[in-house]
């Protein structure tokens, strides 16, 4: 595709299986989404944080299996979780988890048919972002106090 004059054109320019260009309506794809907009940025972030949380779920399994295996295995997982890399991963997972949780609640409201208008969408998006920051900070405050 030599040039795409504007975003709406990107949804019209496709290629046939033999490689020749064709103009026809296509499904929206990455090129037509402006990732500087909160709506699209939060949308893909919901997916990204869901994938990131998988790492947290794997850590949970390691922690449980180690606790059942004995003191030595448990010492290993506690050592990792307290290491620089471990704390970095845990901080990432905490933020991803809170984001995915709050954005997930936002999605449930949409599924129920509420909050579709633009002002509400932006407002709920800001709530998700501020909520993620506040809850992540509170989680780590609780962690540091109990340490």
């Amino acid at each position: 595709m030599s040039s795409v004059p504007d975003a709406s054109d990107a949804t019209m320019l496709g290629r046939r299986t033999d490689g020749t260009p064709v103009r026809r309506p296509l499904s929206p794809h990455l090129q037509v989404y402006d990732m500087m907009q909160m709506t699209s940025a939060l949308s893909i972030s919901h997916r990204a944080t869901g994938i990131a949380w998988t790492a947290g779920a794997a850590l949970m399994v390691w922690w449980l299996v180690a606790a059942a295996s004995g003191p030595e295995a448990f010492a290993w997982v506690q050592w990792f979780l307290g290491s620089f890399l471990g704390i970095l991963v845990l901080m990432g997972v905490t933020a991803a988890a809170w984001f995915h949780t709050l954005a997930g609640v936002r999605h449930l409201f949409w599924d129920a048919g509420y909050g579709y208008d633009i002002p509400t969408t932006y407002k709920s998006g800001r709530i998700v972002l501020v909520g993620t920051a506040v809850l992540t900070a509170l989680t780590w405050l609780a962690l540091l106090i109990s340490w």
């Binding site: 869901g50 609640v105 609780a142 962690l143």
Partner: protein, 130 residues
């Protein structure tokens, strides 16, 4: 009164069940929502429990996991977490994985890994609880 004419080849029962060619209708989508609702309190309970008890000794951790209330909630958390994870990763792979055999193979691999991780975690909880 004029008899109603069928405007579709689908049977009324098929339309009500909402099952298309995938034979599953909205079940996958719906279960993602159901598990997310169930995970909401369970995840908050787990995060708060861990955040307020950092640096547990092995005996303390084993006792906490083995406590009947915690063990039941943990088993629920494990099953729902990996159901939701497998369902979510499946949708991502369906969207992006190409070609078709890579898509199918990666989805099956995700399901296998999620099932095995869930079983391993559940066994660990049961060993400490029973």
């Amino acid at each position: 009164m004029e008899p109603t004419r069928a405007t579709t080849l689908r049977t009324p029962l098929g339309r009500v069940r909402g099952s298309g060619s995938a034979k599953s209708g909205t079940h996958h989508w719906w279960m993602q929502r159901v598990t997310s609702l169930a995970l909401l309190p369970l995840t908050i309970w787990f995060i708060v429990s861990l955040a307020t008890s950092a640096g547990l000794t092995h005996l303390e951790a084993a006792a906490w996991i083995g406590h009947p209330v915690n063990a039941v909630l943990l088993l629920a958390l494990i099953g729902l977490t990996f159901h939701h994870t497998a369902a979510g990763l499946q949708v991502v792979l369906e969207d992006y994985a190409k070609p078709e055999w890579v898509k199918i193979a990666s989805i099956l691999a995700v399901k296998a890994v999620c099932a095995l991780l869930a079983l391993a975690a559940a066994l660990a909880v049961l060993r400490l609880a029973v």
